[in-house]
Amino acid sequence: MERSEAAMTPPKGPPIRLSALDPQFSREIKRLAGTDFHACLQCRSCSGGCPFSDHMDYMPNGVMRLVQLGLKQEALSCNTIWICVGCHTCSIQCPMAIDIPGVMDALRERALAERVAVIEPDILAFHREVLHSIARYGRTHKLEIMLRYKLKRRDLFSDLDVGLRMLAKRKLDLTPSRIEQIAEIQKVFRP
C-alpha cells in the first residue's frame, strides 16, 4: 500500500535542537505527571484517536517524544498542551497505558511556573476565570465567568446570540450558587 503524503510529512513543529536536551526536565515531568512516558513506543494510537489533533502543532505522540528527550522549550511552548481537553481518548487506546493527559497537565503547570509565553491565551484566560469563580463562591458561576472572560478579551459581542439564547432558556442563573463555608475554599487557594 502506498503511504499517503500526510504520513510522510514531518510534523509541523519547529526544528528540534538536540543540543538542548535536559534530562532533569524529563525527570521532573515524570514525577509531576506520575506516569512513565519513557514506555512510549511511538505507535501513534494516541494521535490517531485524538479528536483535536488537527489543531495541535505537535501530535500527542510527539509530545511524549519531547518529554522523553527532555526538550523543555519545545514541550512547554507547544499549543498541544493547551488544546488538549483531557478526554482520555488517547490513554484508553495507548498500548503502554500511559496517562497522556496527565503529562499535558504537568507541562501546562510547568509552563506557567516558568512563565513561558502561552500560545493559547484565551484558553488560559478561561481556566483562570473558572478558578476565580470557585475561589469566590466555592462553585462556578457561569454567567460571571463568561462576562469576565469576554471583558478581558475586550470582545463582548462574539457569541452574544448564544448567551441570549441560554438566558432566554433560563440556563444561565443571574445569581451564583454559593457555599456557606467559603473560608474553607480560601484555605485551598492560599499559596
Partner: protein
C-alpha cells in the same frame, strides 16, 4: 442497591455538581425524581463545592486535589456517594486514588479537613444504580410505560479513564441496556464516544462547532430520532454549538427514565435549546 417500590426509601449521599445545580436543573430534577420512584433518596452532601472542573487540574494539580477532597471529607460514612456528572466522578475518583497510594496526600487531607480519609467511601456514578434495576418487571406491573423512541446513545468521553482508574466500574452499554428495557431502540453510530470539546467551546468555538455538527448529523443519519447524553456538559455543548438547520433533540438520560415513570415535567423540556416537545407529542409522550 435495588429497592422495592413502596418500602422506606434507601438514603444515599449525592453530589450533583455545578452543571446540574445550575445550567442543567432538568437533569438534576429528573434524576432526583426517578430515584424517588425507585425508592432511593438522594441526600445532597451538605455545602458541597465545585470539583474543580477541567480548569483546576489543567493549571494547578494541588487545587484540583484539595477541591475534590473537601467533598470526600463532607460525605457521611457508611453510605455510597452517588454522582451525576462523569467528569466530577473522575475528579473524585482520581483524588481517592491519590489518597490510597500517597501518604503525603493523606497527610494534606487530614491537615486541611481535620479527619482521616475514609477508605471505604464508595463513589459511584448513578449509571451503576440504574443498571441494577429490573426494568422489565416494572413494565410488566405497570410501574413504568415503554417509550417508543429510536435513540443514539452518546457517552462522549465518559467511558475513557486513565490506566490507574481502569479497574473501577465500566459503564459501556448502560444506556442501551436500560433504555432498551424501557422499550427504546438504540442505533449503532460512529460518534457515540466522540468528545464534545468541553471547555474549548468557550475559547475555541471554531474547533467545537464542526465537531458538534458532525456528531449530531451522524446521529440523524444513523436513523435516530433523538440523542441521549450521559453528561450535562455534553448536553450543553451539543445544544449551544450546533448550527445545523433542523437538529434532532437531545435528552438527558435521566429525563427519559422520569418520562417512563410518567413523572417528567413540561418545564424540563422547555429549557432545551433544541425543542424536544414536537417529537414527544408526535410519539404520544407529551409530558
Amino acid at each position: 442497591m435495588t429497592a422495592a417500590g413502596r418500602a422506606a426509601p434507601i438514603e444515599v449521599s449525592y453530589f450533583p455538581g455545578c452543571s446540574l445545580a445550575t445550567t442543567a436543573k432538568e437533569n438534576n430534577q429528573s434524576l432526583i425524581e426517578s430515584c424517588a420512584r425507585l425508592g432511593i433518596r438522594l441526600v445532597e452532601i451538605p455545602d458541597w463545592n465545585c470539583c474543580g472542573s477541567s480548569s483546576a487540574h489543567s493549571i494547578d494539580h494541588r487545587i484540583a486535589f484539595d477541591l475534590a477532597c473537601r467533598n470526600l471529607a463532607l460525605a457521611p460514612a457508611g453510605r455510597p456517594l452517588v454522582t451525576a456528572c462523569p467528569s466530577c466522578t473522575l475528579r473524585l475518583k482520581h483524588a481517592q486514588h491519590l489518597l490510597r497510594h500517597d501518604a503525603g496526600a493523606r497527610g494534606r487531607y487530614e491537615t486541611l479537613w481535620g479527619r482521616p480519609y475514609d477508605p471505604d467511601l464508595h463513589v459511584r456514578h448513578f449509571f451503576g444504580l440504574m443498571v441494577e434495576i429490573d426494568w422489565r418487571s416494572r413494565i410488566g406491573n405497570g410501574d413504568v410505560v415503554p417509550l417508543d423512541l429510536t435513540f443514539a446513545p452518546y457517552y462522549g468521553c465518559m467511558l475513557n479513564r486513565p490506566a490507574a482508574l481502569r479497574p473501577s466500574t465500566d459503564h459501556h452499554g448502560v444506556m442501551e441496556r436500560v433504555l432498551g428495557d424501557l422499550g427504546m431502540r438504540s442505533v449503532l453510530w460512529a460518534s457515540s464516544t466522540q468528545c464534545c470539546g468541553t471547555f474549548l467551546t468557550v475559547a475555541r468555538p471554531d474547533i467545537v462547532t464542526p465537531k458538534v455538527n458532525a456528531i449530531l448529523q451522524n446521529a440523524a443519519d444513523s436513523g435516530a430520532e433523538c440523542v441521549v447524553t450521559a453528561c450535562a456538559m455534553c448536553h450543553m455543548n451539543l445544544e449551544v454549538r450546533c448550527t445545523l438547520k433542523a437538529p434532532i433533540p437531545i435528552f438527558h438520560f435521566s429525563e427519559l427514565i422520569a418520562l417512563a415513570f410518567g413523572s417528567a415535567r413540561r418545564d424540563w423540556f422547555s429549557r432545551h435549546l433544541i425543542d424536544p416537545r414536537p417529537l414527544l407529542s408526535r410519539k404520544g409522550l407529551a409530558a
